[in-house]
Symmetry: C2
Subunit: 397 residues, 2 copies
């Protein structure tokens, strides 16, 4: 059990990072949840506290905020006791005293602590963050934008006076400095924490678009067979041509294009005017001994396998083949690579693989992942936002 | 093309890190080479220069060392022009002036530069490094150990006077502080550099032992068939029992045990007295359409495939299956995880997969990897050292 303790002044992207971490962990099958202390304050005291509430010399505000921090931490421990694995404690935790208190509570509960501090000294990034995200915050719903910004700056100023950066190198911590420019990892051990650090290192806030599509219809699709390495049908080739015209109109400059190593995505990718890189990690789920069969044939020939898969599609592994969890595991480097990209990416792949990628991008649970709709001949446009993703789907016939 | 420029005082593990990076990159199929300026000095001026040679007020020494640095950098560019991808320029590069000179040369050649600085403020680690590795250095062959240590300390003192840590945040750099305690990554972009940082984060100098073995003989082994998911033969089960007794005698405490997800390694692992974790990344190379055939059957049934594989076993990919390069790619997280482990690890896997792991551990090229001897019923004991690996093989009949 691990508590990831966010640290940082307001408007430093803490909640953004916290949610990204939770999404990444959940997607990989680790139970993760964000506990946002601000939400406790809003739920219990209402969302329209003025900046003066955050004045460290205002005893009412200090006491109330401390009570909210305690309530959230109590919930963290309750949730970890109930099967949770990674609790992300999202608050400013801006002073050494506050962090020592959190650490002592966690140590008493036998829970490992990793601090993630977001530091931003670039006023342009802070300003953009104030304007873009904080005005959409529940704290300022319905407020006059100019007044909201002034109030929020005052709130930040109260925190700045008391702020102490992490300076104790006996702690486990990660510092993220100036939105991806610099990362410091201190006393970070273990494979999964290492993966989290790689992931954090690739995060950036440059806007970009991700296109997902399956290959055009293949001969196996037409026959209802799964797996295989069949060529496109005439309808499939027509889709590749339409997709090319469609994307050419919508993408300025040269995107990154990834396909799998299977014929049906390679041929679809070759129709595009840009070069495509085949990645084995994007190959369709390996159906093992069921490769090349229809679902009716699997049900008739391997009724127990068919029933096991129906009972738990996520963890079911085809004999000599893969499970959805196996697919998600091998998609990990693709996601880390994708997070690092600063331009448009087009991914031409397969149903199960795209379910895995889409689940990450649209924050779906692994349980939802296996049932997501990813139909043939449909281009899915995704624009990642600070919180959530903008999605459009285009059926190209 | 990239030049990785090492930075640090003597006895800070620069050469160790440089060689590890080169090994990791080469193993993944990226042409990497270390250019050690000290070797140029030794080759051209002999290996027994006294500490006074490194005195920054000694013009002969300064000029000679600068000439060596230039000669090594010339060779870096020649090699990069000749197909090299990652040149690792291994020298102290201890001053801003020296680094600006290296950077200017690289920029003029259109080559990307990443600095890797090793900082160690823990006198115990520095002392251990002086005694363990420097006394084995070619600079002190045949010297009296006490005199060698004193001379080397004097040499370090000359560098300490002039040393300037990297402080320019417009550069791309990684700082490794106190042997794995802290890592700073600044302006590191791109997927492969991110992987290098993850790799560096997992390096440590805690000694440990790695045991590699194939599963016991399977029914397919007995028939000369490749792939499949056959059970162990009687001889195979007997090996599992012998292996268990053998390892129990030699391993104190509880090791980490990894198997593949295939029956023959699971059963072998179950014979051991410790729990084993099945990893899909350790499954045998996927022989695709040739799975379950003997080599004679492949030659008869798919003569072109057989010939292609013979012509280039490394890049040859079985139709619907994998190449050795595919296997090495999926072993990447296993290697990063393995580097991070601080205790004994036992890996029970398959011929092609163990060739891939062994190639990394024993610093073999991908070309050599595909022909390495990894026979059945043999336990391979590897103890990684600063430079190289100690190996013993035990045939257990």
């Amino acid at each position: 059990m691990t508590v990831i303790v966010m640290v940082g002044l307001p408007a430093r992207g803490k909640t953004y990072i916290a949610r990204k971490l939770a999404r990444y962990l959940n997607w990989q099958g680790h139970a993760a949840r964000v506990f946002n202390v601000g939400n406790y304050r809003r739920m219990r005291l209402g969302s329209n506290q003025p900046a003066a509430f955050f004045d460290p010399t205002n005893p009412t505000g200090v006491g109330a905020r401390r009570a909210m921090a305690e309530a959230a931490l109590d919930d963290v421990f309750a949730w970890l006791g109930d099967g949770g694995q990674y609790a992300i404690y999202d608050a400013t935790n801006a002073t050494r005293t506050r962090r020592s208190w959190v650490l002592a509570q966690c140590e008493a509960a036998g829970v490992r602590v990793v601090f993630v501090e977001s530091i931003c000294n670039d006023p342009a990034i802070v300003e953009a963050n104030i304007v873009e995200t904080k005005l959409l915050s529940p704290d300022y719903i319905g407020a006059d934008p100019a007044i909201a910004v002034a109030d929020f700056r005052e709130r930040i100023a109260f925190y700045e006076r008391a702020y102490e950066t992490i300076a104790d190198d006996s702690l486990s911590y990660v510092k993220l400095i100036d939105a991806g420019r610099q990362l410091v990892a201190n006393n970070i051990r273990g494979f999964l924490l290492g993966r989290l650090v790689s992931y954090l290192m690739n995060l950036h806030i440059v806007p970009r678009t991700i296109w997902l599509t399956r290959h055009g219809e293949s001969a196996y699709n037409a026959l209802g067979k799964i797996g295989g390495d069949a060529a496109l049908t005439e309808a499939g080739r027509a889709y590749a041509t339409r997709l090319s015209a469609f994307l050419r109109e919508r993408i300025a400059g040269e995107p990154t294009v990834w396909t799998s190593t299977l014929q049906r995505t390679l041929t679809t990718g070759q129709a595009l005017p840009w070069g495509a890189l085949p990645l084995r990690a994007l190959d369709e789920i390996d159906a093992g001994i069921c490769d090349g069969m229809t679902y009716a044939e699997i049900e008739a020939g391997f009724p127990e396998e068919f029933a096991s898969r129906k009972a738990d599609k996520l963890t079911y592994r085809y004999p000599r083949g893969e499970s959805y969890l196996d697919v998600i595991d091998r998609l990990n480097p693709v996601i880390v690579n994708l997070e690092g990209k600063r331009k448009t990416v087009v991914i031409i792949a397969h149903q199960a693989v795209l379910r895995g990628l889409y689940a990450y991008l649209a924050d779906k649970t692994p349980q939802e992942c296996v049932h997501l709709e990813v139909p043939l001949h449909t281009a899915i446009k995704l624009i990642p936002k600070a919180y959530g993703v903008d999605e459009s789907r285009f059926f190209l016939g």
